[in-house]
Symmetry: C2
Subunit: 190 residues, 2 copies
């Protein structure tokens, strides 16, 4: 998606440790017009896939997934990272390792909102090692929901998450795949 790539080149910042900061438009301050265009692009890619639910994980996935869901006219569900005392009833849960925060955490989704027969599009802002996405896949498999596709805004192509998922047969669509990045250059996969 050229608009996203252009924006990454304009406003993204590379930091030590393969960190790509896009917090001015994607995951802290959010440019909602860009998010809307991202939603339109995922709709273009997946509109014939019979999707009836968008699933993401808090926190930065939520805004993107909401704008995606408006294009599909389906509900959005987000996996929670901490068990609230307000979540009652049965939940699916999975354990995820976060490199960003340097720790493991549990994710939970109420069983009311993910069911056998659901055709789910998984959405997230970033894919690097794919740990969060594997947590969402685990939750869908527990529910018996079908994962129709995975939509990622920015995939770090030099880390194994996206490739691993494609090898497992998932349809992964990433709007920008970073092939290589250094302090003074960033290149996308064609």
């Amino acid at each position: 998606m050229q608009e996203l790539k252009d924006r990454i080149l304009k406003d993204g910042q590379v930091r030590p440790g393969n960190v790509l900061k896009v917090d001015s438009f994607l995951n802290h301050q959010m440019d909602v017009e860009l998010l809307d265009h991202i939603g339109a692009e995922f709709y273009r890619l997946y509109k014939d896939a019979g999707i009836n639910k968008i699933l993401t994980i808090e926190a930065s996935g939520i805004g993107i997934a909401c704008l995606v869901a408006t294009h599909f006219h389906v509900p959005m569900v987000f996996a929670k990272k901490a068990k609230s005392i307000n979540i009652d009833g049965d939940v699916y849960h999975s354990k995820v390792h976060s490199f960003t925060y340097g720790k493991d955490y549990d994710i939970t989704v109420s069983q009311k909102f993910l069911n056998k027969g659901d055709r789910v599009l998984l959405i997230d802002d970033f894919m690097a090692n794919g740990k969060a996405m594997n947590g969402l896949i685990d939750v869908c498999e527990q529910a018996g929901a079908e994962i129709v596709g995975i939509g990622i805004c920015i995939e770090k192509g030099f880390q194994p998450g996206g490739e691993d998922l494609r090898k497992r047969g998932f349809r992964v669509e990433s709007l920008a795949i970073v092939e290589n990045m250094t302090d003074d250059s960033l290149t996308f996969r064609e």
Copy 2:
């Protein structure tokens, strides 16, 4: 907002401890069409207020604030609850007590995204004791940003948060104010 009140009466569930569960449409599974209408309503209320930024707090505020921001055509910023290793530079921070999770937590906002001269609309899904909102107010005051208004989807009118903020002179617009709730009845303030 009648549509939101109707939805609360239809799908909300009262739980012991003054808990109103709206997780089927507002803060776990999200009805994005309803969120879009909520965004339109806040725009109707605040369209002449010169707002240039929407500020909320992760996680459940993010989806709502994104849909609000699309109506105002301004950026949305969300306060983060955990300090990521990817947040560098100077941040505003404040301490918030969560009754939902039963603990204190820090919120942070990068100083890059909140500045003197900003005219901010604060958005959240719920207001009860107002602890989260006071954290956002604190952050805005540190930044020298002007709080033009506060937009709440559901205010628990029998808890002090909303009243305290109105007494302090803030313009608080709540789309549904729950006056009273018991296991088998729920009434809204007229």
